[in-house]
């Protein structure tokens, strides 16, 4: 294989240039942290506290076994949902609906888990996970179906489905089948042990929350990679995303591709929800999704819609999440700052020209490459 081949093989990783894959994300991250510091300074946070908060950010994400456990716990659902979004992006679908799919999938996993509670774990856990994935797939499939059949743009329909999912969750949590016995507030029954994703490190410390969901996550990264780059279906997804007209002319079924891509994306987001309810929260409550579906958009973008990239970006965002909580405790800086940093990472990643304009010295001059 000659040099040209190698260079073009990089394209399979999302973009043609190493610069875009390594340097842009690096600068994006640094620039976002810097602007985050400016925001803190602008709201009257002392310089010392700003320093302290970034120290806390590191400490809370990788500073201890517990910190790493928290990072992994936070990263797992972001990676799962991010994988789904990445598949959608590759198929040319801008699915903003991961949040609603997380909600529906997480709730369905609880319901199935409760129903299967008397079965052994080998049945109950897969059953609950499957329920989460299928429900997520169905919920996303609505938007896919609307797009394929009526042409309704998925951005608007998925956002509306997000808003609907919150109301639906509030309602369903009060129905007798789901609501915890003897409670008046909207809260679900607890997930029975058999359907829980088991914690992995409780033999070291009972408080370590990292759970078997990380294996599920890694498996899904591999599945997504195979699906996207090795399978017929993935070829159809990518073709539809790059040039839908050419895909149709080549005999691919555009409607089916859209619906399947949305459904698979929804299944992964549903698994992210199940991962939360079965592995971390043990139940469903209003707002349990905690914006995972929105953060996953940033994860998918930063990961260049490539499964391995999504894994790495998910770990980074998980670290930001875990570190952000430490930051709030140690320095008293609101965790909402993390949302600002995340959104800035998106903008710098998605506009490499902007990063190159801000940090011209980090890049080779045009034309010399």
């Amino acid at each position: 294989m000659n040099a040209m081949d190698k260079a073009t093989q990089w394209r399979l990783l999302g973009r043609t240039q190493v610069e875009d894959l390594v340097i842009v994300p690096l600068f994006a991250f640094v620039a976002a942290l810097f602007l985050g510091a400016l925001v803190m300074a602008a709201t009257g946070v002392d310089l010392a506290v700003i320093g302290q908060s970034y120290v806390a950010l590191v400490k809370g994400s990788v500073g201890s076994l517990n910190a790493v456990s928290e990072t992994l716990t936070a990263a797992a659902p972001l990676v799962l949902a991010g994988l789904g979004l990445a598949l959608g992006f590759r198929a040319g679908l801008f699915n903003i609906g991961a949040e609603g799919q997380v909600v529906m999938g997480g709730l369905a996993a609880v319901v199935a888990g409760v129903a299967l509670g008397d079965f052994p774990a080998i049945v109950a856990l897969p059953g609950a996970l499957l329920a989460g994935a299928l429900t997520g797939a169905f919920y996303a499939g609505i938007a896919g179906w609307l797009r394929a059949v009526t042409g309704a743009h998925e951005v608007i329909s998925t956002i509306m489905l997000n808003l609907i999912s919150y109301r639906l969750l509030d309602y369903l949590l009060r129905t007798p089948l789901i609501q915890k016995e003897g409670r008046a507030d909207p809260i679900s029954k607890s997930v029975p042990d058999a359907a829980e994703l088991p914690r992995l490190l409780t033999f070291i410390d009972a408080n370590l929350r990292v759970h078997a969901g990380i294996f599920l996550t890694l498996a899904m990264v591999a599945v997504a990679y195979w699906l996207l780059f090795r399978s017929k279906l993935g070829f159809e997804f990518r073709a539809a995303g790059e040039n839908a007209v050419a895909a149709r002319f080549a005999g691919m079924n555009a409607s089916l591709t859209i619906i399947l891509a949305m459904a698979i994306a929804g299944a992964l987001a549903g698994l992210a929800g199940a991962n939360q309810t079965l592995g971390v929260l043990d139940r469903a409550t209003p707002g349990f999704s905690a914006g995972i579906g929105f953060d996953a958009i940033a994860v998918a973008l930063m990961g260049r819609s490539h499964p391995v990239g999504v894994l790495l970006a998910g770990l980074l965002f998980g670290a930001l999440e875990a570190g952000g909580r430490q930051m709030q405790v140690d320095a008293g800086v609101s965790i909402d700052l993390i949302a600002i940093i995340q959104s800035l990472i998106i903008v710098f990643i998605a506009a490499p020209l902007l990063v190159k304009a801000l940090f011209p010295w980090g890049f080779r001059r045009e034309g010399s490459g």
Binding site: N2, M4, Q9, R230, S231, F235, E242, V245, A246, A247
Partner: protein
């Protein structure tokens, strides 16, 4: 007004589009600029009309150097261009398009459309360019749209008119009318630059000819002293053989039978109106016609991409009216789409991926749910070699290939498998002479192997060169049939029919 280009060079990154071009444009004369597709004609004129900055060189107007910072400056200097792809806003009226950018206004920035209308009417009368100022562009035939483009340039009081491939979309009769207009503009003292790759037209209309090849002016002369073969050799760089080699016409059984076909456009208008035709194995049937008379809908309906409202399509005795594109494909129907960039290729996919775009799903490329990429790459390399697709490797992105190689890639994909029937839309649009000859030879080879072919092209010359039978399409119907093996073809007559004379 006299315009001079001195030593113009234009580079796009490493690509040199124009190199050291010198050209003089005199008032009251038609300068013919001849060159192949991709020779750099349009780039040169885009430099002249201010769209591109020249990398080197200068432009002089009446011996004074000028620098254009955008098309606005060129327009103000009196240089107007009618682009090959019309620069008209389809949903605006004629008057709105004409005044766009130099609008007459009243108080509060209010658009004065009454004045605009009056101006359009005045110009149409002065130069004999009949148009309705209130008509919406997208409802007008291309010939009329072209008049609007000319009025637009005249409204800006241009003294130099650059006409880029103006006859590409016209019927032979419309071309004659158009030449009348060009002559009357010349008499009014305008300077005209007429850009084309068609030898007959440049010989007919020009007062002076310059030939451009690979970005450089390779020769100039007087049309009275130049011959067709001389010009062709100057344009291409080597002697050109205009004839397509072909085996004798020996049609066999009917392979495609279209009966009473009616097809609607997206918004419900009738595109194909009760059309019937037959194609036999071993023959090439060419569909001639002015663009927009239902050719695209016909291709799409036959390829299974557009629903058939009524009628029947039979392929080798089987009713295929409503089956999917892929099912047709499996039966041996190949389809070379009209627009390779939009529908034929995926620019960001590799040559190999494009090569299997419609065959990836079955053996030998697919194993169960996966694709055997090793097999795909090996196969693509072989086919690319066979069909002369010049690419650094099969891993190169299709977008990086030249237009000719992209089209060869599409043709290779469609013809390299077992085919029995080929639908090809505009198979050589925008290509250089070498690629055109290669693709025509491939189509001919398919015919000689016994395939039936249906070729649609808006270039009547192409249709006349390759077809065994010619069907003329007008307003969704077949209005005439010609067969060179029965009677010699008369281009003028076919042109009249294309314009609706038989309807």
């Amino acid at each position: 007004m006299r315009v001079e280009l001195k030593n113009i060079t234009k580079r796009f990154g490493p690509v040199i589009a124009n190199k050291g071009v010198n050209l003089t444009i005199e008032p009251g004369e038609v300068l013919g600029l001849l060159g192949e597709n991709g020779a750099g004609k349009s780039t040169l004129m885009n430099v002249l009309c201010g769209l591109y900055d020249p990398t080197e060189g200068e432009i002089f107007i009446d011996d004074k150097p000028v620098v254009f910072d955008g098309p606005g400056d060129a327009i103000r200097a009196g240089i107007g261009m009618v682009h090959q792809h019309f620069m008209l806003v389809p949903v605006f009226s004629v008057a709105e398009n004409v005044v766009l950018g130099v609008e007459p206004t009243g108080a509060l920035d209010h658009l004065d459309l009454a004045t605009a209308r009056a101006e359009v009417e005045r110009l149409s009368e002065d130069y004999g360019l009949a148009v309705d100022p209130d008509a919406i562009i997208e409802t007008l035939p291309v010939g009329v749209q072209q008049r609007v483009e000319i009025i637009k340039v005249l409204f800006r009081s241009a003294d130099v008119l650059i006409l880029d491939e103006p006859t590409a979309v016209l019927t032979p009769q419309e071309v004659d009318e158009f030449f009348q207009i060009v002559r009357s503009l010349c008499e009014a003292g305008k300077a005209i630059v007429f850009i084309t790759h068609k030898l007959n037209e440049i010989l007919e209309i020009s007062d002076r000819i310059s030939v451009i090849r690979r970005g450089e002016i390779v020769g100039s002369g007087d049309p009275k002293e130049l011959t067709r073969p001389e010009l062709a050799e100057m344009m291409v760089g080597h002697p050109v053989d205009f004839d397509v080699a072909r085996a004798p016409y020996a049609p066999r059984e009917v392979i495609l039978d279209v009966a009473d076909l009616t097809v609607l456009r997206d918004h419900g208008a009738v595109a194909i109106d009760n059309l019937s035709l037959k194609v036999r194995s071993g023959e090439i049937v060419g569909i001639a016609g002015v663009q927009g008379n239902g050719q695209s809908a016909l291709i799409e309906a036959l390829a299974g991409l557009r629903r058939v409202a009524s009628g029947r399509v039979t392929f080798d005795g089987t009713d295929i009216t409503h089956i999917s594109p892929r099912a047709r494909h499996r039966m041996g129907i190949a389809h070379v789409p009209e627009d390779r960039q939009r529908a034929g290729l995926i620019g960001n996919f590799t040559v190999a991926e494009n090569m299997v775009l419609d065959t990836y799903y079955g053996p030998p490329f697919a194993k169960g749910a996966s694709i055997d990429w090793g097999r795909v790459h090996a196969d693509a390399a072989r086919v690319a070699e066979e069909y002369d697709v010049r690419t650094p490797s099969v891993f190169a992105a299709a977008a990086h290939l030249s237009g000719g190689n992209q089209q060869k890639l599409v043709v290779a994909r469609e013809l390299s498998r077992d085919t029995r029937f080929v639908i090809a839309g505009q198979p050589t649009r925008g290509l250089d002479v070498g690629s055109i000859a290669f693709i025509h030879a491939q189509l001919m080879a398919a015919r000689d192997e016994g395939d039936g072919l249906l070729i649609v092209s808006s270039e009547l010359d192409e249709i006349m060169a390759v077809s065994d039978r010619i069907l003329v399409m007008f307003k969704g119907r077949i209005v005439a049939e010609y067969a060179p093996h029965i009677a010699p073809l008369d281009k003028g007559e076919i042109g009249l029919v294309m314009a609706g004379a038989a309807a």
